[in-house]
Symmetry: none
Subunit: 209 residues, 2 copies
């Protein structure tokens, strides 16, 4: 039976509690704080904290966006500059999620993912696929270090693009890779008519399920 907290302390605790678990309702909070539901609502109002459903919704949205933008996004990281078919730059701020817990060192495939997606995005075609990649991880990158990847098309032979990518952390090279990316122009693949497009559409619809 901890005696009731002062308003300020309650506000502090409120933020803490909802930070840890955003699903709590006002009723539950009221019980925890031994105050009325109205008081909790007033507190939320003062602190600009939305209702529980809203909090939940935001979480869900953010999570689906975030996960998607991590996994799905056109480019892993943030696209800073592109000159299609010539060069592109992206920035990635790796989070602790991407690191080995033990050491805080970012797992190689995240750095690869940034570079690979940049190389692919750079190619000016409907669809582009990585063929081969030769990469070197020059030095470890830690969570929080801002990765700048720069991709440059060094040569092009028909559908083949040779793309070099260098990633840097505060100016120092941490990764370099040579990618061969194939441009796949769907117009030159099958019969390239409406029929094929329909098939593709079906597939992509199914994929979303």
């Amino acid at each position: 039976m901890a005696s009731r907290l002062a308003k300020q302390d309650r506000h502090r605790r409120l933020k803490e509690l909802l930070g840890a678990d955003p699903f709590i309702t006002d009723r539950e909070l009221a019980r925890m704080f031994q105050v009325s539901v109205q008081t909790v609502r007033l507190d939320r109002l003062e602190l600009g904290i939305p209702e529980s459903r809203e909090r939940t919704r935001r979480l869900a949205e953010e999570a689906t966006n975030k996960v998607r933008s991590v996994t799905t996004g056109e480019v892993i990281g943030e696209l800073i500059h592109v000159s299609l078919g010539v060069e592109a730059v992206s920035m990635l701020e790796p989070t602790a999620d991407m690191a080995f817990r033990r050491t805080g060192i970012i797992r190689g495939h995240h750095i690869f993912a940034q570079a690979n997606s940049l190389a692919v995005a750079l190619v000016d075609a409907e669809v582009a696929l990585t063929g081969t990649a030769n990469v070197r991880f020059l030095r470890p990158v830690k969570a929080g270090e801002r990765l700048i990847a720069k991709a440059t098309v060094v040569r092009r032979a028909g559908r083949k693009y040779y793309v070099d990518v260098v990633s840097r952390v505060s100016g120092k090279d941490v990764f370099e890779g040579k990618f061969v990316v194939f441009a796949v122009d769907p117009r030159k693949e099958g019969e390239g008519t409406k029929k094929e497009e329909e098939v593709k559409e079906e597939i992509s619809l199914e994929d979303r399920t």
Copy 2:
């Protein structure tokens, strides 16, 4: 004004729609399908689909827990077999998230991630980091195709492990890569006593969380 769909088709579409966007309310669905709200509710009942708030809540909950295991997990995919320092096999069932929408083809870095994490996990050391990787994407992989990656240590020179990885889809090679992984033994870095082992134990427990 597409005429109203038959029940079956509506059910199919319903699952599709909610798969793509779980936030839609019954009212909105009713409008989309040009049926009454009640009908939508009946449909959901028959299909065992919970209400929108519940869907949102689950998403949010899942997202806060599970999302991490995809990014953070020791090995991307599921570890099927390991013989430390010798060989290892993992399985990955890529989802639509990992694919280009347009084509359903899995983005290269996911395949790379499976291979890379497997190669790293294979190395019998406290910490292992990828040094270089030469990889080839032999043929496209589509969402839903089960990827089996097999990593083999082909040579070892001190702290350097040369690991070959081949990924297959139903027996066919789709990816091959040569990785050079560096074992970083902290015993040769820090002071390395019992105290340290305790720390390690703690850490590896945390890692499993």
